[in-house]
Amino acid sequence: MSVMEAGTPAAGIRGAAATSAETAARETLLSVENITLSFGGVHAIRNVSFEIAKGEIRAIIGPNGAGKTSMLNVINGFYHPQEGLISFRGQERRRMKPYEAANQGIARTFQNVALFRGMTTLDNIMAGRTLKMHRGFFWQCLHWGPALKEEVEHRHKVEEIIDFLEIQAIRKTPVGRLPYGLQKRVELARALAMEPDLLLLDEPMAGMNLEEKEDMSRFILDVNQQLGTTIALIEHDIGVVMDLSDRVVVLDHGEKIADGMPADVQANKAVIEAYLGVEH
C-alpha cells in the first residue's frame, strides 16, 4: 500500500474512533501477553499484558525506569522476553530479529536521535527504505536500468513524506546541522519511509519547546489520521499524552498499574501515587 493512497481506507477508522466502546471493539493489531523480561536478576518487565488496536494512538507512560523503552524494544524484536506471548496481526510471534519485525511493518524512532549525522535529510529518509529495495548489491552499484527505476520510485515515496512533514526546505541539508526539533522530524520521516502499520515513538517530544511540541503533535495526529498508521508512543509530557492518545497504559517498576482512557488513567489513584503524584 502506498503512503498517500493509504489515507483513503484509513479515514473510516479514525472517524469511528470517537467512542471508547468502539475502540475496544476494534481489531487488535498487536497484543502482548504476560511478558516478563529480565536482565540477570533485574526484572525490567514483570507479567505485563495489553493490546494495541488497529488505528489507535496508544500511549505508554510511567516514571523513569518503569520499563517503557524496554517494552518498545520487546515489541520491535530487539529484546527477547523470557516469558510471554506477542502476537502481531493475529499471528503469534516467534523469536525474531529487529529487521524481521521491521519487514513485518513495525517502525520506530529513538529517545536519543539516531540519524546519520553527516548525511542529508533526503539520504537519511532514503535509508529508511532500504528494506523495500529489491535490487541486489550488483545492480545498486551499477545504478542503471531497473536499479535506477527502482530508486526513482523510492524517491517519489520519500518526496511524498517530505511533503507530508513539510521539510522541503531541509531536503539537502546535512542532518547534523539541523536544530534538534527538526532532527526529530527527520527521524519520524525515516520511520514513515518504511510505510509501517505500527509506529513506535520513543519520546518524540523530549527536549522540544512548546512550538515544536505543537508541530510534532500535529504531525503525529496527521500520520494517524491520513496514513492510518497505528501509533504507540512513550511520552513524559502528560498534557501531550492526554490530548493525543486514545488509550493509555501505565507502567511502574516493570508492572502494569493502569490501562484505559486518558481521563480515567489520570484519575486513577495508583497512577497518581506512582507517577503523577510524585512528579508534581
Partner: protein, 659 residues
C-alpha cells in the same frame, strides 16, 4: 502626453488574454510549481483548460457576475487560476494576506461581502470556519490541499479538484454550459472591476482598492514595453498574492507578455527555488536583498583565508568599476580586465548562488534600500532598479530608466504618468493605472482622488535637478521639533536601518525638544557577531540589552548624526538619545503592518513609558509588553530598558568630526 487607449476587443481582460496566449503560445510554459521535489509545468494551452474547468465548476456551485471571491493562500498555480476563473464569470477576485490572523480576515471578507472563498489548506479553512459566524455572505469554501480536511463537514466545503472535475464534466456534456462560459468571457470589458486589493492599512482599517481591467492590463502593457519583457522571460512568484506588486508582476504582466511564472515549493524554500529557476525578471522589497547579502557575508566569514582574500579583493574591483561598466561610463582598461577576471572567479559564482545569473532586470520597491546594498548588487553587474508605486496606481508611479540609476532617488515618472507636487510638498499623480475607487468607501475615495483624476500619495517629496523624484517621508509624518526644525522620521530611520545590525528603528521628535529613537537589533547579524566574539546570550531580550551591543549601536547612531550634520536641512534633527527595545517589533502584535512597515502611532501608544523616559532624562525604564504568540495566545514580557545619550555634532564641529 499621449494616453494609451484600451487594447482592442480581444485583449482587454485577462480571460481574453488567456485565450489569446493559448492560441499563440500553446506549448510555451505559463506557470510552474515545484511539487514533490520536481518542477511541474503547465503550458498556456493547459492553463486555459484548467481555468475553464474551474470556472465551469464555480458556475455550477452558483458563482455569478459581480460576486466576490476571496483568495487566501501562498503563491500556487491553482490560486492564480482561480483569479482568471472568477474573472471569466465576471466575478471579482479579492486576494487576502494569508498570514493574517482570523480577526484581521473578518474585516476584509465582511467588507468585500465575499460569497466564495478559495483557500490553500486546512490552516486557512480552519481560520475561515472560526469566523464563519461573522461572515454572513460566505457560502462556499473551496480548498486546494486536501490533507487533514477529510472528516470536515462538507456541506459548504469543496475540494478544488472536485470542483474542477464537475466543471470538466459539465463542459463536455452540456454545450450550453460551454457557450455560457464563452459568452460570459466575451461580455467582460475593460471598464469592469478586475480585482479588489486591500491595502495593508498603515493607519486605520484596510481599504479595498478597486482596479479595473483597463488599469491593470494597460499598466502591465506599459511595464512590459518599458523593460522589453517577452514570453521568454521567467519570474518567481513568492510575494503575497494580496499585494498589488505580485498581482501586476506575476499575474497581469505574465498574461500580457506570456512569460512564465514559477511558484516556490514552500515559503521556506524560496531561496533554493530562486537558485533553481534563475528568474530573468525579479521583484523584491529591499529586505530580501538585505537578507541575501547578510547570508553571503556571514558564509564568507567562515571561508578559508585565500578565498576570503580573493572575494574581498574582487568586490573592491567591482565597487570601483562595476557600476560604471553597467552604466556604460568610461573605465580604465586595467579595471576592465580585472573586472572580467573577477566575473569568472567571484561575481559569476556569487550570482549563481544568489539565483541571479540570468537576471536581466530587477526591481526593489516598497521601502528605501540602503545605498551600500544597492551598490553591491549593481556592482556585480545586476541591473537592479528602484521604483515607486502604490496600490492605487496599479503599482507604477516612477521608475528608474536604464543607465540613470541612483540609490537616493526613485526615478522618473513611469510611462504615461503625470506627477505634480503640491504646496505642502505632497506628491500627486495621474495615470491610466489610477484606481476606480475604494470599495464601499466614497468618502475615502474623494479624499484621495480629485475630480480631475489626481491621486494624493500621502508622501512628501521633490524633484531633483535631473528630474528624478526623491521621497523623504510620509507627508503626514513630516513634523517639526519645538524649535521648528524639520523632522522627517523615516529619513532618519532609513539611515539607521542601513546598518545590518539594526533591523528596525522608530524615531520620535514631532513637537519635542530633540529627536530620540528606539532600535531593534537584527538577530541574525548581531547574533553572528556575538558568536564570533564569544559573547553568550540566552534570548533575544538578553542580547538586546548587552552593554557591548549598546556600545556597537551607539557607534552607528553617532555615525548617523555625523551624516545628518552635513545636510543643512536636517542637521537639527540629530539623535540625542536612544534605547534598544527588548522585543522584536512584530506584525502579530500590531506594531508593523503585514508588509513590515512601522505603525508609528500604535507604537507610541504601546511603549508610552519608554518614550516618556526618552525625554525625561532617565537612565532606564521598566516596561511590560503584551506579546501574541503564533498560535494566537497572548503573553507578557517584562524588561528594564537602558537609555543612552549620544554625541551630536554642530555644524561648526563638522570638520573635527569628519576626521
Amino acid at each position: 502626453m499621449t494616453q494609451t487607449v484600451a487594447p482592442a476587443g480581444g485583449e482587454d481582460t485577462f480571460p481574453k488574454l488567456l485565450i489569446r496566449n493559448a492560441g499563440i503560445w500553446a506549448d510555451r510554459p505559463a506557470i510552474r510549481e515545484k511539487d514533490l521535489g520536481i518542477w511541474q509545468t503547465w503550458t498556456w494551452a493547459e492553463v486555459l483548460d484548467e481555468v475553464r474547468a474551474f470556472a465551469a465548476g464555480l458556475a455550477e456551485l452558483g458563482l455569478k457576475r459581480g460576486d466576490k471571491v476571496a483568495i487566501v493562500g501562498s503563491n500556487r498555480p491553482r490560486l492564480y487560476w482561480t483569479m482568471c476563473a472568477a474573472q471569466s464569470l465576471g466575478a471579482v477576485p479579492v486576494p487576502v494576506y494569508q498570514d493574517a490572523v482570523a480577526a484581521e480576515m473578518t474585516f476584509v471578507l465582511q467588507h468585500a461581502g465575499a460569497r466564495f472563498a478559495v483557500v490553500q489548506d486546512q490552516e486557512q479553512v480552519d481560520k475561515l470556519l472560526s469566523i464563519s459566524d461573522d461572515l454572513t455572505d460566505l457560502e462556499r469554501i473551496v480548498y486546494d490541499e486536501e490533507r487533514g480536511l477529510k472528516d470536515y463537514d462538507h456541506s459548504r466545503l469543496h475540494p478544488f479538484a472536485a470542483v474542477q472535475e464537475t466543471g470538466r464534466k459539465t463542459l463536455a456534456s452540456n454545450p450550453q454550459a460551454a457557450a455560457d462560459l464563452d459568452a460570459s468571457i466575451a461580455a467582460g470589458k475593460g471598464s469592469d472591476i478586475a480585482v479588489i486589493l486591500y491595502t495593508s492599512g498603515t493607519t486605520g482599517q484596510p481599504k479595498g482598492v478597486m482596479l479595473s481591467f483597463d488599469n491593470t492590463v494597460i499598466s502591465a502593457k506599459l511595464a512590459c514595453e518599458f523593460d522589453n519583457l517577452t514570453q521568454t522571460d521567467e519570474v518567481l512568484a513568492y510575494l503575497p498574492m494580496a499585494w498589488v506588486g505580485d498581482h501586476i508582476f506575476s499575474y497581469a504582466e505574465s498574461y500580457w507578455s506570456g512569460f512564465c511564472v514559477a511558484c516556490p515549493e514552500s515559503p521556506e524554500t524560496m531561496l533554493q527555488d530562486l537558485r533553481e529557476i534563475g528568474p530573468t525578471y525579479f521583484f523584491s522589497p529591499p529586505r530580501i536583498f538585505e537578507n541575501l547579502l547578510t547570508t553571503v557575508m556571514i558564509r564568507m566569514e567562515d571561508a578559508g583565508p585565500l578565498k576570503k582574500k580573493m572575494f574581498h579583493y574582487f568586490l573592491g574591483v567591482a565597487r570601483r568599476a562595476g557600476e560604471k561598466i553597467l552604466n556604460g561610463e568610461p573605465v580604465a582598461f586595467s579595471d576592465r580586465v580585472l573586472y572580467a577576471i573577477g566575473g569568472f572567479l567571484v561575481y559569476g559564482p556569487l550570482k549563481n548562488v544568489l539565483g541571479m545569473s540570468r537576471m536581466r532586470v530587477g526591481y526593489t520597491a516598497g521601502e528605501a534600500i540602503g545605498p551600500e546594498i544597492f551598490r553591491f548588487y549593481r556592482s556585480l553587474g545586476l541591473n537592479l532598479k528602484q521604483l515607486y508605486g502604490q496600490t492605487e496606481a496599479s503599482v507604477f508611479v516612477t521608475v528608474q530608466p536604464d543607465g540613470e540609476i541612483r540609490a537616493d532617488t526613485v526615478g522618473k515618472p513611469a510611462p504615461e504618468v503625470e506627477i505634480k507636487i503640491d504646496d505642502s510638498g505632497e506628491v500627486l499623480y495621474r495615470s491610466p493605472g489610477v484606481f476606480v475607487g475604494y470599495y464601499k468607501n466614497e468618502e475615502a475615495t474623494r479624499a484621495t482622488k480629485t475630480a480631475e483624476g489626481w491621486v494624493h500619495t500621502g508622501d512628501a517629496g521633490f524633484f531633483d535637478n535631473e528630474g528624478h523624484l526623491r521621497i523623504i517621508d510620509r507627508a503626514k509624518d513630516v513634523g517639526h521639533l519645538t524649535d521648528n526644525t524639520l523632522f522627517a522620521p523615516k529619513y532618519i530611520e532609513n539611515k539607521l536601518k542601513f546598518f545590518p545590525n539594526i533591523k528596525e528603528a522608530v524615531a520620535f521628535g514631532h513637537e519635542r525638544a530633540f529627536v530620540a529613537v528606539m532600535l531593534n537589533i537584527d538577530l541574525t547579524a548581531v547574533g553572528s557577531w556575538a558568536e564570533r566574539n564569544n559573547i553568550s546570550y540566552a534570548s533575544y531580550q538578553e542580547l538586546a540589552g548587552l552593554p557591548k551591543v549598546y556600545e556597537m549601536l551607539e557607534e552607528h547612531v553617532v555615525e548617523v548624526n555625523r551624516d545628518l550634520s552635513t545636510e543643512p536641512r536636517v542637521a537639527g534633527s540629530q539623535i540625542h538619545r536612544f534605547l534598544v527595545l527588548h522585543k522584536e517589533l512584530d506584525a502579530d502584535d500590531g506594531e508593523l503592518t503585514r508588509t513590515q512597515k512601522v505603525r508609528r502611532s500604535y507604537i507610541a501608544e504601546k511603549y508610552e513609558p519608554l518614550i516618556t523616559a526618552l525625554y525625561d532624562g532617565s537612565k532606564e525604564q521598566d516596561i511590560a509588553t503584551e506579546v501574541t504568540f503564533e498560535d494566537g495566545r497572548k503573553g507578557e514580557i517584562k524588561a528594564c530598558v537602558k537609555i543612552v545619550d549620544v554625541q551630536t555634532f554642530g555644524i561648526e564641529t563638522q570638520q573635527e568630526a569628519a576626521e
